[in-house]
């Protein structure tokens, strides 16, 4: 192997001892580092990796759960809104119906009242007319009675009658 080594001046042999020192110390170093440094470090790193993996899985699960809940809520909201709008529609229809009924009733009653009032007015008018006619007729009768010739006999009888009446009192 000597001829392979650059810088070998020939008078120095191959330092097999150095090789042995290197082999022994490198293997000891490997063992010591593995035991004291790499193994604990690797454990910690693996632990972190597992932690991250589990956290990611967890987050994914939570995301799916949240999505499910959101969909559920949206459906619920939609249904509630539909319910509300149908209830509102019903109420509005009911209100319209009631309104119409009330207006109709009011109209009917108003018409009736109007008719009653008209009838009353007409009756009063008729009564007044009748009164007038009666008065006219009585005046006519009185005129006729007065214009008729009262004869002597009748006059006497009338006076008698008035006197009797006055005496009777």
């Amino acid at each position: 192997m000597e001829f392979l080594i650059l810088g070998n001046t020939g008078d120095v042999g191959v330092a097999i001892g150095s090789s042995l020192v290197l082999l022994v110390s490198f293997l000891v170093l490997l063992g010591a580092l593995s035991y004291f440094v790499w193994k604990p470090l690797k454990n910690v790193m693996d632990e972190r990796e597992n932690l991250i993996h589990s956290e990611i899985d967890d987050a994914e699960n939570r995301r799916i759960e949240a999505q499910r809940l959101q969909k559920e809520n949206e459906e619920l909201l939609k249904q509630t809104q539909a319910d509300i709008s149908s209830i509102m529609e019903d109420a509005r229809a009911q209100a319209t119906k009631e309104q119409e009924t009330i207006i109709h009733d009011a109209n009917t009653r108003a018409n009736q009242l109007m008719a009653n009032a008209k009838a009353d007015v007409e009756r009063e008018k008729a009564i007044a007319e009748i009164n007038d006619q009666v008065a006219e007729l009585s005046i006519l009768i009185a005129e006729k009675m007065i214009s008729k010739e009262i004869d002597h006999q009748d006059q006497q009888q009338l006076v008698k009658q008035y006197l009797q009446e006055a005496g009777g009192k």
Partner: protein, 245 residues
């Protein structure tokens, strides 16, 4: 630019085993720095990061994870994760150790004590060899011995020698690329330093800016080389692991 190397040789069952003392020392220093930096950076770790150190270390861990998963399935490559982080941290620290200063003793050999351990070919080739052995081990484990041996004779039987040599080339290129980059960088640093210290007033003024620029660039090279080393290791590993290769 010749520097002496402090060596120590022991006899192991009659075989002389030579230690490059400065390289060995720097390897151990690198290991200690890497260990304590990461140890103290991760004392307070939590699932929810509380400080910058944890974030930085995690960024490195994730970066290396990305490098592995760009080459092979994480199910296959996950077991190399700790090795790859340790490797990239070790090589990066080893590369930058030679940037701030170099310690050369003022004896007649100019013994070099403080340097990047990766400026030593023994170190880089050993690391590369370790990685290549690893690829073969996991190749046999993943494909089974039969398929592993068969893969050398595909697509044509006469490709076998080339494929066989290729395995050694992997080792050489992986190790020597790192060594060459760091060693050359240190040589240039030493040259610039000697220009400043021995070149008089002109040398000092003329060498200061390039020295700073080269230190910054060497920091960049250190990071890139550490990245390339680990990346290529993962490429070789994925070649050996996949069945269709």
């Amino acid at each position: 630019m010749e520097h002496g190397t402090p060596t120590y040789t022991i006899d192991l069952f009659g075989l002389p085993v030579m230690f490059d003392l400065s390289t060995s020392l720097m390897i151990i220093i690198t290991c200690l720095i890497v260990f304590f930096v990461f140890f103290f950076a991760t004392r307070k770790i939590a699932v929810r990061p509380t400080g910058k150190p944890q974030v930085l270390v995690e960024a490195l861990v994730n970066f290396v994870k990305g490098m592995i998963s760009s080459n092979m399935a994480w199910k296959q490559g996950g077991k190399f994760h700790f090795m790859a982080i340790t490797l990239i941290a070790f090589i990066f620290v080893a590369n930058i150790l030679g940037i701030p200063f170099t310690i050369i003793l003022p004896d007649e050999e100019h013994t070099l004590w403080w340097k990047s351990p990766t400026a030593d070919p023994t170190v880089t080739l050993t690391l590369a060899g370790l990685m290549i052995v690893l690829t073969h081990y996991y190749g046999v484990k993943a494909q089974g011995m039969g398929n592993y041996v068969k893969s050398y004779f595909q697509p044509m039987w006469f490709m076998a020698p080339i494929k066989f040599i290729e395995e050694f080339t992997y080792n050489l290129t992986l190790g020597l690329r790192l060594y060459g980059n760091i060693y050359a960088g240190e040589i240039l640093l030493l040259l610039l330093v000697s220009l400043i210290t021995t070149g008089g007033i002109i040398g000092a003024v003329g060498g200061f800016i390039p020295l700073m620029a080269w230190q910054g660039f060497k920091l960049f090279i250190s990071a890139i080389q550490a990245f390339i080393f680990v990346m290529l290791t993962m490429v070789y590993l994925s070649h050996k692991l996949s069945d269709d290769h």
